[in-house]
Symmetry: C2
Subunit: 206 residues, 2 copies
């Protein structure tokens, strides 16, 4: 959650203390935080250079080229999304699902511009970007089965996995449309609908 709070990293002191890997990670975090209010197309090496207060040349040293830079930022954003939406350790299955969905909605709200551009760009973008998006969706949906290993909420069947995947497409569209125009729906109503709809939809196929 601290990811979006790092500021420009311009002091010689902070620079000299970090290993190259740490430095790269810090720059990626900055890239992810910039992506919150920018589309992927708007996130350029130039923008990062200015925000980080370092030269473009150094950024090319860290990230190779524009494409690799964006891919690295999106990979880190996906890792953040998966980490931030992990359900809490204990509790009832439906409560844990609700908590995870709430974290997802909050993530999308906080990172709207970048998230939209990743979703919209994933399909028609480069193959590596599509793969990253697929990886994220699989991680989020597969987790539902590993977190609910006893099948208390949803039985682990091929039909259930088919429906969970479809539900995740619904959930994504619902949140993205809701952020753009809430249509009188409160956050609580949205979370309740997203949570309750998952077992209900799976039931329709059983």
């Amino acid at each position: 959650m601290g990811v979006n709070k790092i500021g420009p990293v311009t002091t010689a002191t902070s620079r000299s203390r970090l290993s190259p890997d740490e430095r790269r990670t810090q720059l990626l975090d900055l890239g992810v935080s910039l992506l919150a209010t920018r589309s992927l197309d708007e996130l350029t090496i130039d923008v990062l250079a200015e925000e980080a207060g370092i030269s473009r040349g150094l950024l090319y040293h860290y990230f190779g080229n524009k494409h690799d830079f964006r891919e690295a930022v999106v990979r880190r954003a996906v890792d953040d999304l998966v980490a931030q939406t992990a359900p809490p350790e204990g509790g009832e299955p439906l409560e844990r699902l609700l908590a995870s969905i709430a974290a997802y909605v909050d993530y999308v709200v906080a990172n709207y511009q970048g998230y939209v551009s990743i979703v919209k760009g994933a399909a028609g973008g480069t193959e590596s970007m599509r793969d990253l998006y697929e990886e994220a969706r699989s991680a989020l949906t597969d987790r539902i089965f590993t977190e609910d290993a006893q099948g208390d909420l949803i039985p682990d069947t091929p039909a259930a996995r088919l429906m969970v995947r479809a539900w995740s497409a619904m959930a994504e569209e619902l949140v993205l449309t809701w952020v753009a125009d809430p249509a009188g729906v409160t956050r609580e109503q949205l979370l309740e609908a997203m949570t309750a709809s998952l077992p209900a939809l799976v039931d329709f196929l059983h």
Copy 2:
């Protein structure tokens, strides 16, 4: 439904009988039928020229350039999809919805390669392609409210429209995934789940 049944249009007789508009329409229909088993990327002027038995030059005369050609084919495919999935005139609201959904599933099955490529390409493709895809989705979801003008099935509220849009994303993902791997789910189970889930999901927001 005759769209996919026209054959190559190679005879001088058939050519001379058609007006330029009819001829263009016929070529578009051929393009749409070729798209059933090809991705949009694979649908080239060369492929159409070979299938139609006419010169590339003549096709450029009809369609301007590769981009305009693909856009015209997708526009016609969208028109076909909307026309073929129109619900029957009479009957109960839920039966009419089921019939419309059945036609949608059959359309996707019959036109899988092209449909997948349009869906996948819509997001990251050109702006005009995105617009066409959005137009199709809006036409299909708005129709639910015009066809159910009394609100027998779904009340026409902003929240319901939000959920219908999310449901359509679910329905699309469900069908595309099911065609690739049915996961033991029959066509009838799929249609039932898609149909019953629409009012159920809307209920979750009311």
